[in-house]
Amino acid sequence: MSGTYLGMPAFPAAARDAVRDATLRANLRHATHTIRDKRAKAVAELDDWARLREAGRQIKDHTLRHLGDHLLRLEETVTAAGGTVHWATDADEANRIVTGLVRATGEREVVKVKSMATQEIGLNEALEAAGIRAYETDLAELIVQLGQDRPSHILVPAIHRNRGEIRDIFAREMERWGRPAPDGLTDSPAELAEAARLHLREKFLRAKVGVSGANFMVAETGTMVVVESEGNGRMCLTLPETLISVVGIEKVVPTWRDLEVFLQTLPRSSTAERMNPYTSMWTGTTDGDGPAAFHLVLLDNGRTDTLADEVGRQALRCIRCSACLNVCPVYERAGGHAYGSVYPGPIGAILSPQLRGTASEIDASLPYASSLCGACYEVCPVAIDIPEVLVHLRERVVQGGEFTRHGAKTTLRPARGHAAERAAMRAAGLVFARPGLLRAGQRLAARTRRIHPRTLPGPGRAWSATRDLPTVPEESFRDWWRRTRGRGAEATGAAGARTEDGEAGA
């Protein structure tokens, strides 16, 4: 993924700053709560939501099971419609292909539709290194780009910014990128939108090359689909002479009938709208209308490896609606930047460590960036069991094991830094295997209860820094049971057959 994210600290450290930033927390809380309430209403309008969700899950799973066939069909139909298909194994290859295509046009600028795939591969940085300037045209992406910032939400990349901050960014930065902001710009939404419109209009009318992603690719006709709210995307897709679309291979759907399901579930899940304002579809090229040249770059970048994992592969169902971010209590407090990836929130916590591997500090920490509350699974329109995958990836981090990397089976070693935890888990396992040992431990804790420290050493310090510890009772339940019920009572029950460890027949 993007080189900009290399060297991110682990999630807990990155989240700590966000938790302490009162403005950021207020911005995030307001935005996520507003949109989650709206989503709930929009979803409740459909009495067949559960069936749509199940249909979406099945279509995605079925397509993923036969992904190779559908992609070959797509290549055929796109080519037949006048497009050119390129296959990219990883970010570097995709960036090389796009850079080469732009260079071949002789242009030094491109306009971009908001695209997760191009952010994932760090395309803007790669183009810049090749002397090509990429202009983001989605309003929120523009705010992020002008602010030399990173997106912190899949759908609302500038969710962490309030109106006042946006005004300041526009007034300060627009001039460096093209048309300056109007004098006396205030923070009223209408004025901010108008400033962006004037600034972007120049770009649209001048650009000869457009770069996009796609929400879906329909294999049966080779049709690309982008859904958006502002119409800026449609300008990028229709005005330039050359259009280059970079799309993850998991975005293919076999037929238009399959698309129908997602065009209902995506907008309601993401923007809480019955239908998104702009749905743009393009199939190859057409004389005298739209771009004269169309290139589709099919991006793998870890997706085939993810597909090889039978628990983790469900992450590839994701349609990037971001509903899971908006209901996640951890995202709400930590913000998107803490996830160190273009995919923040619960879906990012399972997608990034699969696409990138768990070798880096940030990627090894992401599977733990959740309390496993399950709110993400509940809202997911394609029923990705995110908690299940999180736990699966935790296992990969602490235990290591087999997984697929660059198409080959690899044995991953357990991550460093978990040795103490592994030992503690093993010790707990030993105690729990012997009820007598558990009881001895409980009795020791009860006898020493008056001298227990109020704060804990080691990793436990994190607990006692903000919460009081419970006091150990004088008597465990099992001792109370034994004292009041006696051994006779035990022996008459079915448990009579069961004996406590080391005390058989006593």
Partner: protein
Amino acid sequence: MRVALFLTCVNDTLYPDTGRAVVKLLTRLGVDVDFPAAQTCCGQAHYNTGYRHQAEPLARHFSDVFGEYDAIVTPSGSCGSMVRELYPRMGERARAEGRGDGLARALAPVVPKTYELTEFLVDVLGVTDVGAYYPHTVTYHPTCHGLRSLGLGDRPARLLAAVGGLDLVELPGARECCGFGGTFAVKNSDVSAAMGTDKVRAAESTGAEVLCAADNSCLMHIGGTMARLRTAMRPVHLAEILASTEKEPWS
């Protein structure tokens, strides 16, 4: 019907009152409940932290201890969900890893017989009025595993609504996680503490004297936060409210 109390290791060690309350409540309702003393831990902490293989012997031990009972009752939504949701998954994974279906077969009998306390009361015993009396203002926090994994629905609320003298007040943002999450509370302590603080503030806003939940792990986190914030509220397990009667009030 032979009914076993699966108390959980946390309750056994730190919250024996909850266990005594369950015994008192079930006995009052005519259930002869047994406590198989060989029980230890369901393995949830191991499983959820990424130590599935270490959780397997604990799951086998659970099935050995509880296999012969007709019903297994637990006053913990999260440990109940470990048995009901995750034990079958563990069996499946072992099979997928080529280790045969021994684990799946061992675990299969206990899975459908395991009930969270409110499920057992409402679904198995068919009662919502358990004859309890608890003259306090109470707000209820539905814990995540009880709410989403087990789908307890309105069972706890119906039980609480039938308690004499109890004034049930709605908790704003009730469905939001309190931030405990097992090892999450330590691994991501800043976010966890922020979530806990918000939960306590929401509970305070109701003016209730008692915050009730059906999971002592969550109550440990919420209660620990309340103590640190010097909140006047008390965390109380649902079982202790249901065990309380006019003649024998639960302290």
